[in-house]
Symmetry: C2
Subunit: 254 residues, 2 copies
């Protein structure tokens, strides 16, 4: 699908971790859909969240144009852009952004509760309207991605490289809210301390909003921080070990 | 093209001035194009500027996917979003954004110099690469627009309402750089003083970057401010009268 020639490999530029960071930290994105008639492209703004595997979640209203477009043709693109999610200075084209190509379809009953839990953990204010009759969750499967890491730094990234395998971690991710509650009960400041050590120093009200085999997502009302694990986790014990290691590092006097 | 039903008229919500403000103040936007094969939507980031009539200007590299898409099919959409252009707090969906539908085509010789002058006045740093052989200016004609002014505030806006008639002001706009230089020579602080009075108080290095019959654009390296005229201008005398009136208001002790 992506036949771009603009990839310019640089020894110092590692596109996959940056693409994963944008995928996991973005709370808002631009959505491109196909409008009637005859597939005119249509750009709009949406809130986004990730499922454990990194596939995306949208909460859309039937009253909005993009929702009707997706019901008619699920093909879409999302631009995840650090400066929308985290204001920054300078030329916007110097900052990294990730184009996702994929399909967005209404949630099936089998996964709706997971999508809802993950989305509302990342967008707590959306609980005000998430249950309105016209709103519904959409699940975005990713087919291809393109990272533009700033001038001269571009790379196509396969869905396989961007996504996180979760087949061996179903038991773990199914218990996500309970496990986070248990860890927080034992270590009430852990999300705050991890945020302080990972670029969230001057902000408050951090909480753990989710995890997957590759990392932990810390959030507050306006921002997400991604903290990758050193080793992949598929059990509660491994999860606790990784979080303990991150905490030890965060709390170590510098 | 837009058959959206979400328009919810409110007596206090005037969509056209807000749409014009987003159109004129945006320096960066998300572009939706149609990728091969079979018109998959593709979202990417671009810098934008306006021609005097409000039609848009892009500076694109032949090496980028979106440029190849537009050369094959000029249909596109642009999302102009205040929070990309001006960081703001709170739920991004509460802030206004404008979806433009139209066509982007390579500049013809007849208008390339105008597009270049307007674009580089708004993006001075782009002069570094504007003349690279792979870069070219594109002119975006607007066919329809949709303003989402935040929850429950949406309106379709015709191209006619969004654009600025300029047919009677060709002589004036053709002299834009010279006229701005003359006004600045006489009143070196005028852009700075207008910026201070129009929301640019704490920032420096403001300059007048352009005008059209409906208003003046003030800019610095990171931001544009739109200052509408009280009355439409089509002559140098009317332009000077409107700017003098804005300056008198800006400098009036409060």
């Amino acid at each position: 699908m992506l036949t771009d020639k603009e990839s310019t490999p640089e020894s110092t530029f590692d596109p996959v971790p940056e693409a994963k960071r944008l995928l996991r930290c973005s709370r808002v994105a631009t959505l491109a859909t196909l409008a009637e008639p005859e597939g005119f492209p249509f750009a709009s703004l949406v809130n986004v969240a990730t499922a454990p595997d990194g596939s995306l979640i949208l909460l859309l209203s039937r009253l909005a144009g993009h929702t009707r477009h997706l019901d008619a043709d699920p093909r879409m693109s999302l631009l995840l852009y650090s400066a929308i999610n985290r204001p920054s200075k300078g030329d916007p084209l110097a900052h990294s952004r990730l184009t996702i190509l994929g399909k967005a379809k209404r949630a099936t009953d089998a996964i709706e509760e997971m999508l809802r839990t993950r989305f509302l953990a990342r967008h707590p204010k959306s609980s005000i309207y998430a249950d309105f009759v016209d709103f519904g969750f959409f699940h975005v499967t990713i087919e291809a991605a393109h990272l533009n890491g700033g001038f001269g730094r571009a790379a196509n990234i396969s869905a396989e490289k961007l996504l996180t395998p979760v087949g061996d971690a179903d038991d773990l991710t199914a218990e996500e809210p309970d496990l986070l509650a248990k860890i927080t009960e034992k270590e009430p400041d852990f999300a705050h301390d991890l945020a302080q050590a990972n670029g969230g120093a001057s902000e408050k009200a951090w909480r753990a909003v989710g995890f997957d085999p590759e990392g932990l997502d810390i959030g507050n009302e306006e921002r997400l921080i991604r903290i990758p694990f050193a080793d992949r986790v598929t059990t509660e014990k491994e999860l606790r070990t990784q979080i303990a290691a991150l905490l030890a590092k965060a709390r170590k006097p510098s």
